[in-house]
Structure formats: C-alpha cells, structure tokens
Symmetry: D2
Subunit: 110 residues, 4 copies
C-alpha cells in the first residue's frame, strides 16, 4: 500500500473530525465488525470455498478491514511495515520451513 493511500484514509477521517472517536478499543471492535462483513460473503456458500462470483463484494469488505487497520496503526503510533516485518521474523521462529512445509497445523501442534 502506498503512502498516498494511507494519506487518503487519514484525510477522510480528519475532514470529518472523527479522530475523537478513534480510541484503540473501539477501533479493535471496528476491525472485528468489518472482518465479519467480509466473512458474511461466505455465510451460506457451503463447500463453494472460492465464491469467484462475489469478488466485487470481497474487494469492498476487504478494503474496509484494511482501512481500519491503517486507522488503528495511526491511533497507536505504529508503523505497519515495521510491525508486519517484525511479526514475520517471529513467525519464522514459530513455523520453521522444515517443520511447517505443506502442513496447515498450528505451531503448537507441529
């Protein structure tokens, strides 16, 4: 994601004077709610786990999740690149390639 996109997200918030509502707890709730709206796309899809015909809806709801992630990072003074790269390093320890390759198990069960 470019800085331009991030700036647009923050400008949208500031134009509406919404920073006052953006405490971390309510932002965490918001991320969960948007994740649920994304999940709703698949609610009764049964074994159709691809749902190709719903790509537009997926795009829209995924955008909402990412939007709130950017707002959460801003509210907490976090840099997305930094925290994601740091977490990848942690995950590299938890899921070593030789143990995790081709398996969907949780690290605690590898």
């Amino acid at each position: 994601m470019t800085q331009e996109t991030i700036d647009k997200i923050l400008k949208f918030r500031d134009d509406r004077d919404w920073k006052q509502f953006h405490n971390p707890k309510d932002l965490a709730i918001s991320i969960s709610l948007e994740a649920a709206e994304l999940l709703e796309v698949f609610q009764w899809s049964g074994s159709d786990i691809i749902c190709l015909d719903k790509k537009d809806k997926i795009a829209e709801e995924l955008a909402d999740v990412v939007n709130y992630c950017v707002l959460m990072a801003d509210a907490c003074g976090l840099d997305l690149d930094e925290i994601v790269q740091k977490k990848i390093a942690v995950n590299n320890e938890k899921y070593p390639v030789n143990k995790a390759k081709g398996k969907s198990d949780k690290y605690s069960e590898l």
Copy 2:
C-alpha cells in the same frame, strides 16, 4: 505498506507451500480470527479504552490481521491500493463532510 513487506509475506507463504490452503473462505475466517485476537487485548479493560500499556500486544495482533489481508488480496487477485481508494470514493458519497462532521452515526442514520 511497501512492496518489500508484501513480498516478504508472500515469500513466507510460498516457502512453506501454504498457498494450497489459502482459499478465500478460509482466509476470511482467518482474518476474523486474527481480528478477535486483537480484540482480546481489550476484553476486560472496562472503561480503559486506550490500554497504552498493551501497545506491544496490539502491534503484534494488528500485524497478523494485515498479514492475512495481504494474503486474501493475493488469493483473489486484488490490489490493495486500488480497492481501498475505490472504497474511499464510495464512502465519500455515503458520508458527505457536511453531514458526517463530528458525528459517529452510521450513514443510514445521518
């Protein structure tokens, strides 16, 4: 988020041969699960809606959500910048500045 970070996320997946598990339905579930882990940070915080002392935990869980958003975008052939900017345009219509300024109401109640 830089392309470098996105590339690291995808490389982590490919090193472990995990693309086979990454169907959209299970990725949507995964985003919800990680959003719940982020929310768990605030589970019994009561009216402490900032939780400054838990910033490290917030960073780690937020990174997990973003990580799966990148994987979801890749699995569905979506470009995060494109979908987020498109959604901002939609939200600009739903939440006009003159109506939404300083209010936390849902667009349907503005």
Copy 3:
C-alpha cells in the same frame, strides 16, 4: 437449557466475584471472542464443512459461547426465553414461509 444449568453458570461467576468485570461492552466482546474460537475449529477445513472428527472441540467452544450469552442476559436483566421468542416473531415477518422456503437469501433479497 434448564434453570439448573443457568444457576450453575451464575454460581461459577459469583464464587469468583467476577460480576464486577461483567459490563455489557466487555461481555459482547467476550461472546465475539468465544464465537471466534468456535470458528477456529473450521479454519483450514476447506470444503470439509462438517468436520465430524472435531465434535468434542465444537461442543467445548459452543458451550463457551452459550455460557457468555447467559451471563450477558443476566447482566442486562434479560430473559432468554422471552427475547428469543420475541425475535422469532420478528423473523416470521421478515422471512415469510412462502417466500423463504428452501432459499438461503437474506430477507432484503427475497
């Protein structure tokens, strides 16, 4: 669910003096978190949408969701039978049998 089960749930809480933490917002968060743990059972199950072999885990996580629903009802002074039967009446209007029969569509799309 019998009154005996409900009483056991409330006694468990009171024995530990936990009512002080049970504000509606944190209970709503808790229901979401337990729902996520139930969902986790199906995280990478792909098109196996039954997961018969995980019935014990499903039972345990479903119990947690129900447990918090009882605690939420108690915290808000709500009677589960009353609110559920009231909601069924509402849903009978939203989903008339002749329109909804055999369809998984949302009421707004029937």
Copy 4:
C-alpha cells in the same frame, strides 16, 4: 431456556426447509456474524460500557446469537445442558476459586 423455545427455533427452520444449509462450518460463521452484530451496539460507545439506552437492540442481537447456538447444537447432535455443565466442570479446574477470585486474568496467567 425452555424446550418450548428450542422447539420454536427448530420449527422455524423446518417450516422453511433450511436444514439443508445448516452445515457446522456455515453455522459457526453465522454465530460469529451475529456476535458481531451484538458487538456493533457498542462500536463507538467509548467509555460508556453499559449502554443502558440500547437494551432493546442488545436483546434482539443476543437472541440471534442464542438462536444460532441452538441450531448448531441440533446440527451436531449436542445437548446444550450437557455441554455447558461439562465445560463448567473443566473451568472449575482451570479457574480454582482461591486463585481466580476477584481477578480477570486468563487462567494461563493466574
């Protein structure tokens, strides 16, 4: 919850011939979605963690969660009283009164 309420929930489903959609994975998704709708009541409430004025909305959304829990139990052949009482016994081990009294910590941190 009385057997009468449970019977009404199942009758509502059967009148509409919806059992065909009620596989465990989609029901777990549904419980999560309804839990999110309940959580949405508190989305921007900030440090107002009681939200007394929204009791009707809470009742309605809580009813939806309970409704799907009953449907999930039925789909998996589980008895709610049995699984809840069994889980209380497990929790009694995880959270002994003398350690957990008056504390909101997770069992792993007691």
